[in-house]
């Protein structure tokens, strides 16, 4: 008999889950009310991150899945295998780069250390005198809203219905207006929107600012990230900024990034934007004279340990969670979806699922 599934959320994670379920022959109803979320706001850098073994396992696994999709992705998804340059300002950071290289190598992620001169040749817009960089050629970029829409379109047996979900209880879903739906499997993949449906979830919003310039083709060719980025990304209080710039296929420069906890104010904050840009100009001095055309904000749904929640709700059988993807959900969506499906259908997942078990945040610990 065909499995009936409901996926709540049509962002990149919901779309990947729906596509993976359809691949396994399920009939999938995707519910989304179009309010939008992180997928429409983020940067779409597909990146191997190594802050802990579980993060590296999931990002590495996912990058492989993205590469498998690459040939099919239509041009509007703007996939580019541009690679990442992790920038080392000084010798101390260069040592960090070497440590990173060793960690990545353990998982089979190739990377290459670049010295001052080689870096300057590759990215002449960077300020002179950086110690070097670690180049990770397997990293890529994608335009996530288009990729999410495509994942839903190409899958057979997926229906997208515009609807607001008001409540979930196990296999039951209540829509705004009172209509009730039921399925064999319900996947909650609506990003930070899940907090309103299940208030006990250990999710906090982490606000981010981004800015994009007019078109300046050929100035930057890799995703450029400072090595201090990971440190900024893991601050759990206060506001932090880090240098992170992406060259869009249009020649525009997409400039990040900032992180702020516990605000849901969507406004672009001039002081935060200014700090973020000062950081960016410190790395790319000529950026100061380029025209910016838009700035915006988005919210990452963060768990206490920074890893997503992937698995069945500990108290509600039939309700599966694909939440808390923080600043990596575009990267990890395909891996998260495969892992979740393996658990649903009783197959052995290709990576260890335990670090992502939703039950790991015991009641009360959900700070």
């Amino acid at each position: 008999m065909t499995t009936q599934a409901i996926v709540i959320g049509a962002g990149i994670v919901g779309a990947a889950c729906a596509a993976a379920l359809a691949q396994r022959g399920a009939k999938v109803l995707v519910l989304d009310d179009g309010r939008g979320g992180a997928t429409g706001a983020g940067m779409g850098h597909l990146v191997a991150m190594d802050d802990n073994p579980a993060e590296l396992a999931l990002t590495h696994y996912s990058l492989g899945l993205w590469q498998g999709l690459r040939a099919q992705l239509p041009e509007r998804c703007a996939y580019r295998g541009c690679g990442t340059l992790w920038l080392a300002a000084d010798e101390q950071e260069m040592a960090l780069a070497m440590g990173k290289q060793a960690l990545l190598a353990e998982q089979g992620v190739a990377s290459e250390a670049l010295g001052t001169q080689r870096l300057a040749q590759l990215e002449p817009m960077l300020r002179a005198g950086l110690a070097g960089a670690l180049k990770v050629p397997g990293d890529a970029i994608v335009y996530a809203p288009a990729a999410a829409a495509w994942l839903l379109q190409q899958a057979a047996g997926v229906t997208l219905r515009p609807a607001t979900v008001q409540a979930v209880q196990g296999r039951q879903v209540t829509l705004q207006g009172g209509e009730r739906l039921a399925a064999d499997i319900v996947v909650l993949a609506n990003g930070f929107g899940a907090k309103a449906l299940l208030p006990a979830l250990a999710l906090r919003p982490k606000k981010g600012h981004l800015l994009i310039t007019d078109r300046y083709p050929g100035r930057v060719s890799h995703q450029l990230v400072e090595l201090g980025y990971a440190a900024s990304a893991h601050h759990s209080e206060g506001t932090s900024v880090a240098f992170n710039v992406q060259a869009r296929p249009t020649g525009q420069l997409l400039v990040g990034s900032s992180r702020q906890f516990d605000t849901l104010e969507t406004r672009v904050e001039p002081a935060v934007l200014a700090r973020m840009l000062a950081r960016a100009v410190a790395y790319l001095p000529a950026l100061a004279g380029l025209n910016a055309i838009r700035a915006w904000t988005g919210f990452r749904a963060a768990t206490p340990d920074g890893l997503p929640m992937l698995g069945e709700h500990p108290e509600q059988p039939g309700l599966w969670l694909a939440l808390g993807h923080e600043g990596l959900g575009v990267t990890t969506a395909p891996g998260s979806a495969q892992l979740l499906c393996a658990l649903m259908f009783g197959n052995a997942p290709l990576i260890d699922a335990r670090p992502y078990a939703p039950g790991r945040f015991a009641e009360g610990q959900a700070a």
Binding site: P145, P270, L273, V281, L290, R294
Partner: protein, 422 residues
């Protein structure tokens, strides 16, 4: 004062008829006002001037106000953000800085409504006022065949400018029906100085109830197809100036939190907006021509400087020109057929090359932007967002910094010591 911060009691945005009239009222009261405009020259749209085009006579006394201390005039200055109440982040060609004000008068004017039709992005096709601006900026037109089309009295002014620059105007096509244009013309005697317009409206070659359905050409415009009384004919030309009237510039007002109504800045007595200390005057509060803009600018300037009785004395004149504005709007109302001219593959967003069909399937502007990238280009959706509003009835998004394309360095000013106290 340091390099990053400047202060003024009264800031006037826009040096068009409204802004200049407000500035004149401020100058009379001896108030140290600052007049800021993103154009390098004063005069706004109607009194735009340049090499070979002197400003018209009635504009001169107002323009000379700008040179009268304690008033200060900042040409070529763009507003980038409103980071906190009473402060604007601005930039000119050299630098970015914070401008603090106690009171603000918005005289941001209007821009043309461009609607997509096949061929509208061909080189040689411009807006109606845009053609005028190009000519006044020094573009030669001698010997060129020009078609002026779209809607509104601006068609006549633009055609006159083109002729003055040596062009042959081979056709003037107004989408509003003859009956409405005639009624408008017959009523014009009621407003001083408008009778000449009635004569122009009766001029041969000015054809109401007609519009351009397509611009033809491969690399540049070669001809237009014009529909009149259900028949379509082809007319050879070198240039087409086409726009469907004006829409108020409300982005800054909206960023400041001022209430809008029907696409214009909502104002009450004394030209007050819904935000304390912020006034609005001229075409950003509704399109009505330079006379209305001048009265409103003066009322705002008088009110902001505390001369309420003088402001109140202008009520009669204000009402008279408001009636003209209503007449204008009713007469040149857009025919729904105009919204159907685009073909599915006609571009809506020329910055990002997005077609009308790609956009039409979406439920709203934000969604269409996200999925098609329309409105994401350097014009920030000023053109296609305005067209989408007219075509699909979608509301505009909330304006965010940067309000106009601005140097990254300028957006960095807020953090560098120009913040808070000074």
């Amino acid at each position: 004062m340091n390099d990053w911060v400047d202060h003024c009691d009264l800031l006037i945005v826009g040096a068009g008829p409204a802004g200049l009239s407000a500035a004149q009222a401020a100058a009379e009261a001896g108030v140290a006002a600052v007049v800021l405009d993103d154009n390098p020259r004063p005069g706004g749209q109607v009194w735009r001037h340049g090499p070979g085009f002197a400003p018209p006579r009635p504009a001169r006394p107002l323009l000379s106000t700008l040179a009268r201390p304690p008033l200060r005039y900042l040409p070529g200055t763009r507003i980038v953000d409103a980071p906190e109440p009473g402060v604007l982040l601005v930039e000119d060609e050299q630098r970015g800085w914070l401008l603090r004000y106690r009171q603000l008068i918005l005289c941001c004017g209007a821009r043309e409504l461009l609607l997509p039709f096949p061929g509208w992005t061909l080189p040689g096709v411009t807006g109606v006022g845009a053609l005028q601006a190009l000519v006044k900026g020094g573009m030669p037109l001698r010997g060129e065949r020009v078609v002026v089309a779209g809607s509104g009295p601006l068609l006549l002014a633009s055609a006159a400018t083109a002729r003055q620059a040596g062009a042959t105007v081979v056709g003037m096509f107004e989408q509003a029906p003859l009956s409405q244009v005639r009624r408008f013309a017959l009523n014009l005697w009621r407003w001083p100085g408008k009778a000449a317009q009635a004569a122009a409206l009766a001029r041969r070659g000015y054809r109401p109830g007609a519009w351009v359905v397509e611009a033809l050409g491969t690399d540049a415009l070669q001809a237009v197809r014009v529909q009149t009384n259900g028949r379509v004919r082809t007319l050879v030309c070198d240039r087409l100036a086409c726009a469907f009237g004006l829409v108020a510039n409300t982005e800054l007002a909206s960023m400041l939190g001022c209430q809008l109504s029907a696409g214009t800045v909502a104002v009450g007595a004394g030209q007050r907006t819904s935000v304390e200390g912020v006034y609005a005057a001229g075409e950003c509060t509704g399109v009505g021509g330079n006379e209305l803009a001048r009265v409103e600018g003066r009322i705002a300037g008088l009110t902001a400087t505390g001369r309420h009785a003088e402001a109140a004395a202008l009520a009669g004149r204000h009402r008279r020109w408001q009636a003209f504005a209503r007449q204008l709007q009713a007469s040149f109302e857009l025919n729904p057929a105009i919204a159907q001219l685009a073909r599915p593959d006609t571009l809506l967003c020329r910055c990002e090359d997005v077609s009308v069909a790609e956009v039409a399937g979406h439920t709203g502007w934000a969604q269409a932007k996200l999925h098609t990238r329309c409105g994401m280009g350097a014009c920030q959706g000023r053109v296609c967002g305005t067209a989408a509003r007219a075509l699909f009835g979608w509301g505009p998004g909330n304006p965010r910094a940067p309000l106009v394309p601005a140097r990254v360095a300028t957006l960095g000013v807020y953090g560098t010591g120009g913040t808070g106290d000074d």
